[in-house]
Symmetry: C2
Subunit: 431 residues, 2 copies
C-alpha cells in the first residue's frame, strides 16, 4: 500500500536539541537544580497554560499579540509567557497553606509567539528562583540570591561576578534632586550607559530638561563601581534620607555576603546596574562571566514590593533571580569537553559472547556505571567505529578466549591503550 | 489605590502539586532518569506543540475533540497528546544524522482536553523510553525494556514483576485456527480475561461465531502463565510456523533476561497480556507491583514494526516502554517516608548570631549538605516550630555563647537529642 508521506518538520522557532546537545543541557539542568536544592529552595511545576484572566491581569485583559491563546468550549486559556505570573497566582491561591518565607525554584518552558530570529525562540526555557515573604522579608534573602549565582556558576565551571545596585538608592538620589516626576525616564537613560557611553547619557538627560549640575550628579552616580568602599564614597553624593537608607541596605547586604564566604572576586557594587523593569523596587543585580563581561549579563534579578497585588490584598514582598538559559547553554556548548553521551562504556561482542556482554553490562549498571552492549547484527569493525563516533570513553571487547579466562579487554578510547582485566578491575577503573 | 482583585485559580484538570509533593515527584524523576542514563538512553525534549498536519497524520487530518489546537497567523499547531508522534517526527527528520539503534527517553507533559475526572488529567506527565532500529532491531532490545522496569522500580523501592507475551504468538495461534480475519476482535475479547473471567471471554468469542474447540484453544492459551517452562508447554498448543517462531523469540528474550541477571521474581510469561493497541506487532509486556498486582499495570510497552511510516519509507522498527506517572506518583506519596523537603538542616540564630549562621550554612552547602538559615525577624520559638512543621531532620542552634567556643548545638528532630559540636563534627553527621 503506497501512501503519500507527510514531510516531517517541527514548528519554526521552537527549541529542539539533538540528543548529544540535550545531554549537555541535562547536565546543566542537574547542576543548577543541585544548587537550588542545597539552598533548600522548593521545586514548583505549574501548568504551561493559565486562564487568560490570570495571565492578562497585568494588561487589564488586553491580549498581547505575542501570546498564544486558546478558546476551547468554556475554557479561555493562554500559554504562559513567563514563570512569574504563575508564581503569583500559585502563592495567592495557596497563601494559607504555604510557609513563608517561601523559597521556590522553577525551570520550565515559556512561550512568546514573536517572529523567530537568532537567539529568540517562541518556546524557551526560563529558570527562576524567588523568595517570597509575608509582609516583610529580610535583606539576607537578597544576599542569598547573589550567592545562588556564585554557587551555580562555580558548579558549571563558569565563574561569575555579580554586580549589585539598588533602585531605592537611585530613586532616593533622583528624589533628592527634586526630579522624581522624571524617575522612569531618568532610569531608562542611565541604563544605557554601557551602550551609548557617558556623553550619550548626558544628551538623553538634557532632552529631559534636567539641569547640568544635576546631570553631573547622576552621571557621577552611575560611574560608582567597586567594593564596600564604593558605598562609602556614594554616601557623600546625596543627603536624601531615602538615598542614605538605600545605601545602608546595600551595606547590610555586603555584610551578609561576606559572612556567607563571598569575596571581592564574587561580587561588587555597580550603580550603572538599573534593570529595565519598573517592577523592581529595591536591590537589583546582574551576573557577568568573569572572563567575558562584554558578553553581557547571564542573569539578573532583584527585590520587588509586592508579588501578587492583582490577586490578593496581602502584601507579599519578594526577591528573585533568573538565569538566561539559551545564552548559558550556548556558552556551555562551546566550552564543554565534548561530553555528548551518558555512556561510559560500550561493550562489544567478538564472536558468540552476547550473553557475557549482557552480564557485564548488568554488573556495571548495578554499580552505577552507564554501560551498554552493541548487540545488533553488524560487524565488529563497524561497532568500534560507532563507539568512536559516539564519543564513548571506554570500550570493553569480549571474545571467546576472554570468556574462558573470565577476563575482558578494556580499551581507553582517548589513549587507545588496552588492558586485559577482570570485571572487578574494570569497575575499579570506570566506577 | 483600591483595585478589584482577580480570583487566583488554575485551569481545571491541570496537574499542579504542592511544593512538598513536588519534592517527592522530583526525587522520583531523578531516580527514573538515573536508570535511563545508566542504560545509555539519550534524552529528548521536543516542543509541547507540533504542526497539526504532523500530529493529525494518523487520523488523516481529522481533529479529535480532545486535542488542543491553535491557529495563529499562518501557524496551525496542536499541543502534543503523547510523546510517540513527536518521536516519530524527530526520527524521520533526523534519520540521516542520528545513530541507530537510537535509544531515547523522554519525560514530559502531554495534553488531552477531556473532561477532568479522578485520575484523569488534561495535562499529565508521560515517561517513555524507546529503541529504534534501522531496518532491523535485535530482540536484546525487548529484553532491555523489561530490564528497565526492573531497575527503575528497584531504584524506587517498589519492586515489580514484568509479565511478557507476544502479539506475534497470538497472531500465529489465531492464524493457525484460520480465524485471522477476526484477529482484532479476538484480541480485544481475550484482553478482558482479567476483568470478566474465563466464562465472560468465552461468551464474547461465541458472539464472534468461533467454534467451541477453537475457543478452548484460545482460552487455554491466555491461561498460560509462568517461567520458561510455560513456553515449552505453549509449543504443544499449535503447530503454525508463525506461532512457533513467536514462541522461540520469547525463548530468546528469556535467555537475554537471564544473562542480564534477572530472575523469576523479576519477570514471567503471561499470555493474557495482550495490550490494547494494534500498534504492537511483537513482544508486549506490562509491569505490576509485586506486592499489589491487583492495582493494575504501572507501565507497559512492546515491539512495533514501523515507527514513522507516515513520514518516511525507511523501515524503522522499535520497542518501547512507558510508565504511568500519575499512578506511580500516587503510590510513592502513600509509601514515602514523609521526605517533603530537600532541607537537611535548618540553622536558627539565638541572639545576634546571624553572621555565624550564614557562615555555617555556606560551609555545609559547599560540602553538599542542603542547609538554610531561618533569618526572618521572628521569635526563636516560632522558628523551631517552623522547622518541625517543615519536617527538617536536623536543626543547628547558634547562640552567643556557642559562637565564643566555636561550637554549635545540633538537634536531631527525630530523637530530640542535642549535642554540642564543631562545624566539622556537624558535617560528619549530616554529610
Amino acid at each position: 500500500m503506497e501512501e503519500k508521506k507527510i514531510v516531517a518538520r517541527k514548528l519554526q522557532g521552537f527549541w529542539e536539541l539533538q540528543p548529544e546537545q540535550q545531554v549537555i543541557f541535562e547536565n546543566m539542568l542537574d547542576k543548577i537544580k543541585d544548587v537550588f536544592k542545597r539552598h533548600c529552595f522548593l521545586p514548583l511545576d505549574t501548568p504551561v497554560m493559565e486562564l487568560s484572566e490570570i495571565l492578562l491581569a497585568k494588561s487589564g485583559g488586553d491580549i498581547d499579540k505575542e501570546i498564544y491563546r486558546f478558546v476551547k468550549g468554556s475554557t479561555d486559556a493562554c500559554l504562559r509567557y513567563d514563570l512569574t505570573v504563575p508564581l503569583a497566582r500559585f502563592v495567592a491561591m495557596n497563601q494559607n497553606t504555604i510557609s513563608f518565607p517561601f523559597k521556590r525554584f522553577q525551570i520550565g518552558k515559556a512561550y512568546r509567539g514573536e517572529r523567530p530570529q537568532k537567539g529568540r525562540f517562541r518556546e524557551f526555557y526560563q529558570c527562576d528562583a524567588d523568595i517570597i515573604g509575608d509582609g516583610e522579608l529580610s535583606l539576607v534573602n537578597d544576599a542569598e540570591c547573589v550567592k545562588l549565582y556564585v554557587d551555580i556558576f562555580k558548579e558549571l565551571a563558569l565563574p561569575v561576578q555579580v554586580e549589585i545596585s539598588s533602585r531605592k538608592v537611585l530613586y532616593g538620589l533622583v528624589s533628592g534632586l527634586n526630579e522624581e516626576d522624571k524617575f522612569a525616564n531618568i532610569a531608562t537613560a542611565l541604563d544605557k550607559i554601557d551602550k551609548i557611553g557617558e556623553s550619550g547619557v548626558c544628551e538623553l538627560l538634557q532632552q529631559l530638561e534636567i539641569e547640568q549640575s544635576k546631570i553631573k550628579v547622576l552621571v557621577d552616580f552611575v560611574k560608582i563601581n567597586g567594593n564596600a568602599q564604593a558605598l562609602e564614597n556614594a554616601q557623600k553624593l546625596c543627603s536624601d534620607s531615602a538615598f542614605l537608607d538605600g545605601v545602608s541596605q546595600l551595606k547590610e547586604i555586603d555584610g551578609y555576603l561576606k559572612a556567607m564566604g563571598l569575596g571581592e572576586e564574587d561580587y561588587k557594587f555597580n550603580f550603572a546596574i538599573i534593570r529595565g523593569h519598573n517592577y523592581y523596587t529595591g536591590t537589583v543585580f546582574e551576573a557577568y562571566l568573569k572572563n567575558n563581561r562584554s558578553a553581557g549579563a547571564i542573569g539578573g534579578g532583584g527585590r520587588y514590593d509586592d508579588l501578587a497585588g492583582y490577586f490578593t490584598d496581602r502584601k507579599l514582598p519578594g526577591v528573585g533571580m533568573s538565569i538566561g538559559m539559551s545564552r548559558l547553554f550556548e556558552i556551555l556548548q562551546q566550552t564543554s569537553q565534548q561530553v555528548s553521551n551518558f555512556c561510559k562504556c560500550a561493550i562489544i561482542p567478538l564472536g558468540e559472547t552476547l550473553q557475557q556482554c549482557l552480564a557485564l553490562a548488568g554488573y556495571l549498571q548495578q554499580n552505577l556505571v552507564a554501560a551498554e552492549v552493541y548487540a545488533e547484527n553488524k560487524s565488529f569493525k563497524s561497532k568500534m567505529k560507532e563507539a568512536n563516533k559516539r564519543n564513548v570513553p571506554f570500550v570493553v571487547i569480549i571474545g571467546a578466549d576472554e570468556v574462558k579466562e573470565g577476563k575482558y579487554t578494556l580499551k581507553d578510547m582517548t589513549t587507545s591503550q588496552q588492558q586485559t582485566l577482570s570485571k572487578e578491575e574494570i569497575l575499579n577503573i570506570l566506577g
